[in-house]
Amino acid sequence: MEELKEKLSTIFGKDRVTSNQVDLYPYSYDMTECSPGMPDFVVIPENNQQLVQLVSLANECKIPLIPYISGNNVGGLTIPHHGGIIIDFGKKMNRILHVNEDMMYALLEPGVTFGQLKKYLDNNHSNLRYSYPFAPPYASVVGNAILSGMNNLSCKIGSMGDSINGLEVITGMGEIARIGSCFYGKEHSDPGSWWCRYPMPDLLGLFVNWQGMTGLVTKCAVQLWPNPRIQKCYMVIMFGLTDIVDVLQEVGRSEIVDDISAVNTEVIKMTCEIPEPVKIPGEPDFAAILPITAKTEKMMQAKEEILHQVVDEMREKGIQILLIDFLEFAKIFNLRVRCYHDLPAVILSLVEYSGLTWFGSYAPMHEMKLLIQKVYSIFNEHGIPPFIYMKSMKSGHYAIFRPIIRYKKFKEEKKVHMLLEEIAETCINLGCIPYKTPAWMTEKMRKVINPGWLQLFERIKKCMDPNNIFNPGRWNT
């Protein structure tokens, strides 16, 4: 180990390598109930050359490499279960390298945070915007994108994995590869060349959603979007447990909103600091916010007319639905609920407990009503206030279904894990596909995934990482 430390210090510099227990400890766990694991080292890289040398050393010593940015993934993805070297990209590889106004993209290092990007765009390119999740400002843009996060433009553009134009990666062979339209240029790419993912053979799929199992991502180009000057936000309030699904579908399909994010009533109460909320008879079941943007007043009026029409049609079917201006509502009801609109933001209900975990999944729209019914019951059976978050993705092509559990860390792990297992079992049986999966969850999924996919997956992993150094254990590799 001392010899290895010497070699790492030669690569990164003494100040950028540690094996002290007190330094390693914060990297050994996250907010979830996933069991902790201590790394052997933490290194802080500054450039690709250091990482190429690291990959070579890791292959030689057969030591795991775990990429880490801010540790805010809710899935135990950066907990090293086989020791190894944590690569903390967040400290030094955190530059916004280029913003291209013409082709609307930003080229980023992995450590760039949402808060950093928003501030930069607001100050320098206010006609462009990115898409932000229900995550704090200190969470990573690239982490969210390469794990197919869902953000506040997702009804319009879908998963954030779809908005990647290109990546620069370091492979298991220690090669630096540029993927996407940036692949032109033998030595270096032009900063203006990161404009598209296609139409060459799509190698991005070898790195997106792989949880760091196939290589290290050192640059990522993400699409930006026009930032229209006219912005409003509506809110629907639903009386009827599953009627919110009609909103996700019908309003999604109308193609007038940027996003549809829905939470149950208990979550609204959690946001207003009622810690163990109970839904009282007479209260609505769900609420959703619908941000709408437009280039002109006429366009906004047209969109609002369509929205009212869609809502009226739902009322004619007997659905009890309220449609109000969200920002006006927030002013009178409680400004805390603006956190769902003013993204990126620290969402109090997600951070006020010491532990947080979830079954976050992409879900088939046609099963959403059943999912809500079943999972709501499961929460109640376990005596835990339901916390369900949903989105409509890409005009309603599919949905996000995310039951969330807050708990007291180091005290309630067992109870929480039992609840999460039951939810996972139910949701997987109804076709949900979890993202940011801990190993116990992928074990469940493997039982129902077709053998052809599993064989192909294993072969690609073996080909990309013959010594299994990249985040081993993920997806039970």
């Binding site: 009282i280 008879p281 209260e283 009890q320 109000i324 006006e328 509502f329 002013k331 009178i332 409680n334």
Partner: protein
Amino acid sequence: MISIQQPKDLIAIAVHNILSYRANDPTYLSLVTRWKRKIIIILEPFYPLAIIFDNGAITFQKKEDTGADLIIRLSIETMLDLAFGRMNLLKALVSRKLKIKKLYKIPTLIRFYRVFFQTVKMMAVDPNTDHFTIFESRKVEVV
């Protein structure tokens, strides 16, 4: 200093928010601290909420009963229209978007207007959208 019951339901959360907003305003305090009334507000399509003013201590009950001094019924849309100046109280009454039982209790109505509806209008025009900076200095005991 006034005290307000910790809310557990959505309407009480909203009313708590409204009644806390001017907790540092001496004019508001003079209206609330020497006043003993029960006002029921029915914000449609939600449930009735009784607001009990007891000389500076404000509590909530989720029920409608005959012991109220005033019963006010309006929709959430009308509430927002009143708050943001798209409608005034008289117009709301005339158009039956605002219904008041025991309207003859004029002093109670006037005081509740000053305590509640004037506050809502002040909140609507407040440019500050940060909950914590607005409420961190408000002297309210939550019980």
